[in-house]
């Protein structure tokens, strides 16, 4: 079992399904971790500069402040529709997830491997969502209330509901990982066969649409699981 993908005619694709590691002076670091950290630092710098250029808050916003307020308001209303009492806590989480996943997978357009091509990154995002759902449910209902909520129609459904709750982050992981990996492999094959105009035309579907849909799906599913656990 080799660690790089080969077409059946023996041609080596030069890509791998397994996570790629970099060796820097004796320390082995994962490539997607380095790219993700650099991405977060760049986003924080951009946020700082945007905040500094909006020194005067105007009552009727214009320009950049308008765009920022539009984005934040949309996500806040979206969270308000689903989890009304806790929208102040959950709306920042949702926007953070969506921005991280959107920018992390759209860097594929620049030739950098997208961060969720590595299954560890997708697993970390799925486990974070699991922790958020359980912490919000335990804070709102308490441990006894949560167990009673899980055994709602009768005590027989308790194992089934616990199993469903434990499989949910696994399915979020695989959904994110498989979508991005499949898009990346298909674009790689298209580059090999016809490098001229076709990749630019098709990458609108395979790269941009997959990234945007997966980012929206992740945020929506997170809010749905919290709403289900809190009702």
């Amino acid at each position: 079992m080799t660690s790089s993908l080969m077409l059946s005619s023996g041609m080596d694709l030069g890509e791998s399904i397994y996570p790629e590691m970099l060796e820097l002076g004796g320390v082995t670091l994962p490539l997607s971790g380095i790219i993700g950290t650099a991405l977060v630092l760049i986003l924080l710098l951009a946020a700082y500069f945007i905040r500094r250029s909006m020194k005067n808050w105007q009552d009727t916003p214009r320009g950049l402040q308008n765009v920022i307020e539009l984005i934040v308001d949309t996500v806040h209303n979206f969270a308000n529709d689903k989890v009304s009492p806790y929208a102040d806590t959950l709306a920042p989480f949702t926007l953070t997830f969506m921005v991280y996943i959107l920018f992390g997978t759209c860097i594929e357009l620049f030739g950098i491997p997208p961060i969720t091509k590595d299954v560890n990154c997708a697993l970390a995002l799925g486990l974070t969502s699991f922790v958020i759902v359980n912490v919000m449910a335990l804070r709102a209902l308490g441990l006894r209330g949560r167990i009673k909520h899980l055994a709602t129609p009768s005590a027989v459904v308790l194992p089934i509901k616990v199993l469903t709750d434990c499989i949910a982050p696994l399915s979020m992981t695989l959904r994110l990982f498989a979508n991005i990996l499949v898009g990346y492999l298909i674009m790689h094959l298209i580059y090999l066969f016809c490098p001229v105009i076709l990749p630019g035309a098709l990458s609108v579907y395979f790269t941009l649409l997959h990234a945007a849909i997966q980012c929206y799906v992740f945020g929506t599913l997170n809010l749905n699981y919290v709403q289900e656990a809190l009702e």
Partner: protein, 76 residues
Amino acid sequence: MELGLIAIAAAIAALTGIGAALGMGFATGKAVESVARQPEASGKISSSLMLGLIMMETTAIYGLFVAILLIFVVAA
């Protein structure tokens, strides 16, 4: 012989797309019908439709992922 069997297995794995596409077509049709019947509920209908489409798309992607694993990793 082995390469042929792997190819047939990958083709069978990619057939999960049929079920997903049929289900999505039915769901979208019913959603459009109910929006036509009651246009002021279109926000709630649209968000329920998105949730259903997400779940159906996931199973199709699982099948595609298994086919890619078979072609690229097992057939090496």
